[in-house]
Symmetry: C2
Subunit: 148 residues, 2 copies
DNA sequence: TATTGTTATACTCTATAACTATA
DNA sequence: TATAGTTATAGAGTATAACAATA
């Protein structure tokens, strides 16, 4: 008899994507709850967290980092911009493109988002081996790669 | 000087949740594209795939498996039911609860969804070690657990 | 001609609150 | 009283097509 994780023959990788979506939903909800004071939606958190390192990025770059399309980002950026968290500035090097600049207040919230994310990550991986985390990242990258 | 992925002290697990969301977006889109003939949304695919093993489940159970709330599922189930893919049947053991039964056609589509998922999983993990996949699952479970 | 990003548009996703039926 | 699930409602997420500006 085989256990649930070794169902069939050799290393059949069943049950990666469904748990992936489940975990994404769960972490998204927790994240929004932890940041309830800032009243941020998952997409807003995601966008801010991807700008939290202080680097200026274009809309397209943030779209790629969040895994969405520029068109999806527009309304998110509108809201963040409306709150004064960031502003769009024409890229002098390519005037079709906008560079996203965080305001000091936006930077504060972005750091908060990043900290909340790291706190969850640390809690989750505290009792796991480094090799497991490394495997996690490898599989994630592979899933991304085949999904391009 | 430290690289971006080793910012602070020891094995700080930075960069799990952001890539998680990115990979989720990417796989969701690929999945919908692969199943374009069936015209299914990500949530419909997710629900069906979680019923594809032929087991009868309640709305609440599928909600837990997909990582959403029952209220979110209602419209998804309405659409699937409207297409004749499943029907809600009162649970005789608890008449507040509905059991979800796939029709033969629903079962066909659910298997298709499951197969598409497995195909992506196999492509992604083909060149990875079993230990990496095992680590992936462990981290996923841990993230879910701390996010309850 | 091709690309960046927005606008217009159309659905889907998501959840809270209120409700019904059952436990 | 508590729980399962729906309905009503409101807003956020998602993408395609059309467009303007720039490359």
């Amino acid at each position: 008899m085989l256990s649930e994780n070794e169902q069939s023959s050799v290393g059949k990788p069943t049950g990666l994507i469904l748990p992936l979506q489940r975990a994404t939903h769960a972490t998204l909800r927790l994240l929004a709850a932890r940041l309830a004071d800032e009243n941020l939606t998952p997409s807003e958190i995601n966008a801010l967290a991807n700008l939290a390192d202080g680097r200026v990025r274009s809309v397209g770059e943030v779209a790629a980092l969040t895994g969405t399309k520029p068109t999806t980002l527009t309304s998110v950026l509108d809201r963040l911009s409306g709150r004064g968290y960031l502003r769009r500035e024409l890229d002098p090097a390519d005037r079709r493109s906008f560079l996203l600049h965080l305001s000091p207040e936006g930077d504060r919230v972005a750091r908060l988002a990043r900290a909340a994310i790291e706190s969850i990550e640390e809690a989750a991986t505290a009792s796991l081996a480094q090799a497991d985390v490394a495997g996690f990242i490898k599989v994630l990258r592979a899933l991304e790669e085949v999904s391009q």
